[in-house]
């Protein structure tokens, strides 16, 4: 179920005088059963990249392969149905995707569309709602009466209900409170545990460090680096400035400590790591 991009270029309005090239020569492999985070500053091409994962955008040149399905510029819309059943997408501000009269109907929409029987659709919707912690007493409410955090969960359940092998999320944690963020990270870990491939875009490096197996760094429509969080976040501090990215908070704090004469044996990437290092290496007298 791996995903590969081979020589992928993408332009809006390709072939016209207004052609606007966004992605350049993308060659990546996204491994199965792993969580891959895509990071990069706003406008670096992250959202454009992930819209290729379920054929919302087709490469202008090159090809995207998802499992045994190949998407090129010539792929017809009809051929994409199979791909869309395989890939669940949660867009930025997923609450904008809600539309039905009740929470349950909203989540059932996807499975029904992919040909589930009503009973079957209902069951999968219910288990998806449980997975994202939407309390049962809300299932018959209008999705528009919910709080922002709950709406987000319902929209995610909608993408998960048809049990896709691949789950793609565009900044799923934006706007959630600390508890909601922790639950989201747990959900991502659970999805991986159940054998799914997860791709998510994030601006929060702490989330990337805590849950991702692989990191893809986008810059100006190119892949700048791909590697494990440990590889990527141990690069030189000047490199982070050049791609306009932050270190995880613990790394930022360690850099400031270093500027103030406190050096640590290596760069901590998490709060726990930083605290442990300070407790061991710099006992405060």
């Amino acid at each position: 179920m791996a995903i590969t991009f081979e020589q992928v270029n993408f332009s809006y309005g390709a072939g016209t005088t207004l052609a606007n090239p966004i992605l350049h020569d993308i060659n990546i492999t996204i491994a199965d059963h792993q969580v891959t985070a895509i990071i990069g500053q706003t406008g670096s091409g992250k959202s454009t990249l992930i819209q290729h994962l379920n054929g919302l955008l087709k490469p202008t040149t090159g090809q995207v392969t998802v499992d045994d399905l190949i998407v090129t510029n010539a792929t017809k819309e009809k051929q994409l149905t199979k791909l869309r059943a395989k890939v669940g997408m949660v867009f930025q501000f997923p609450e904008n995707q809600l539309f039905a009269n009740t929470v349950l109907e909203d989540v059932m929409y996807g499975p029904l569309n992919f040909g589930y029987q009503t009973d079957e659709a209902k069951q999968s919707a219910q288990s998806a709602l449980k997975m994202v912690n939407v309390a049962e007493n809300l299932w018959q409410n209008s999705p528009f009466e919910l709080s922002g955090g709950q709406m987000r969960r319902v929209a995610m359940a909608g993408a998960l209900a048809s049990n896709p092998d691949i789950v793609v999320m565009d900044e799923p944690a934006a706007g959630l409170d600390p508890k909601g963020q922790a639950e989201l990270l747990e959900l991502v870990a659970n999805l991986r545990q159940s054998g799914k491939l997860v791709v998510f875009i994030s601006h929060q490096m702490d989330h990337v460090v805590s849950v991702a197996d692989q990191v893809i760094v986008m810059q100006d429509g190119h892949v700048a680096v791909q590697g494990t969080p440990a590889d990527v976040f141990n690069r030189d501090i000047d490199w982070f400035k050049s791609v306009n990215l932050d270190l995880p908070r613990a790394g930022q704090f360690a850099e400031q400590l270093r500027a103030n004469g406190v050096s640590l044996s290596r760069r901590p990437l998490t709060l726990t790591e930083l605290a442990t290092m300070l407790n061991e290496e710099h006992k405060h007298e």
């Binding site: 500053q41 706003t42 406008g43 501000f93 709080s147 922002g148 955090g149 709950q150 934006a174 706007g175 959630l176 409170d177 600390p178 508890k179 909601g180 601006h203 306009n244 932050d246 908070r249 704090f253 400031q256 400590l257 103030n260 004469g261 406190v262 709060l271 726990t272 930083l274 605290a275 300070l278 407790n279 710099h282 006992k283 405060h284 007298e285």
Partner: protein, 272 residues
């Protein structure tokens, strides 16, 4: 001291749920108050009650001494500007300048006074070079600064930002925080600022932090006081700023709450 907002014995329920039951809070003119709580704690509902977007079941809300009623609601709203979470849901104009002009047209400002007001407001938020830009070409942080300018142009005494940075990238978030600090420096006691947030780095900028949960006031104090109560914060679904979370995990801790800069100093050799 003049009270900007006084909330007295407020009750509000929806469906069968009693959200506020005898809630009290007063905010002085010129204060910057961060209203914090987890999603669903009632903080946005409180903001909507203050501007009369929803109606309380009981109790009183006074804004600069004037009781909020059906008759006073328009006068009160004229003193309060609000900026909401999603920058894309609050644009009406075809250009940045048009967007700021929209509010001014609504209050029937003479058209010869408009250009100056628009320029001043955009200048205050650092968006004066974007006047003719179409809103959809702006970044999230820039959009929120325009939304803030649209509110500022109307000369409000109180501005409420309801999770206005929650949807922004780190750069956009930093630009809004900087803008708010500039606003306070420029307007001082003329402007009362209420920021509703669950981002503690943002809350740390305020003069005062009010923590609410399920419609109840949990803690009310200055940032140092509030952040020294780490257990209470965690119990109410909130975190401390990074420096506070780190301090909580150190075996040897400073005697009082230190912000990031202070903690780094405390840890540095010059302090040993």
């Amino acid at each position: 001291m003049t009270q900007a907002i006084t909330i007295n014995n407020l009750t509000y329920q929806y469906d069968d749920h009693e959200l506020f039951d005898g809630f009290n809070l007063s905010i002085e003119a010129g204060e910057w108050v961060a209203l914090v709580g987890h999603n669903g704690s009632g903080k946005s509902t409180l903001a909507k009650l203050i501007v009369g977007l929803i109606v309380a079941n009981g109790g009183d809300i006074d804004v600069f001494g004037k009781r909020l009623t059906v008759d006073s609601i328009n006068d009160i709203r004229a003193q309060i500007g609000m900026v909401f979470q999603n920058p894309d849901n609050q644009f009406v104009g075809a250009t940045v300048a048009d967007d700021v002009a929209f509010g001014l047209e609504n209050i029937e400002l003479p058209s010869n006074e408009m250009p100056q007001r628009i320029d001043e407001a955009l200048h205050t938020v650092g968006m004066e070079n974007f006047k003719e830009r179409e809103p959809h070409t702006l970044s999230g942080g820039q959009k929120q600064r325009v939304a803030l300018a649209s509110v500022l142009a109307l000369g409000p005494k109180i501005i409420i930002l309801d999770e206005a940075t929650a949807m922004l990238d780190p750069e956009g978030r930093a630009s809004i925080m900087k803008t708010l600090q500039n606003l306070k420096a420029q307007f001082g006691s003329e402007l009362t600022l209420i920021t509703i947030t669950h981002d503690m780095d943002e809350a740390a900028l305020a003069d005062r932090i009010v923590v609410i949960n399920d419609g109840r006031l949990i803690i009310d104090g200055n940032p140092d006081d509030v952040f020294s109560k780490s257990q209470t914060m965690h119990d109410n679904g909130l975190e401390l700023p990074f420096a506070g979370e780190l301090t909580a995990r150190l075996t040897v801790k400073p005697k009082k709450y230190l912000d990031e800069r202070e903690l780094i100093h405390w840890l540095s050799p010059s302090n040993k």
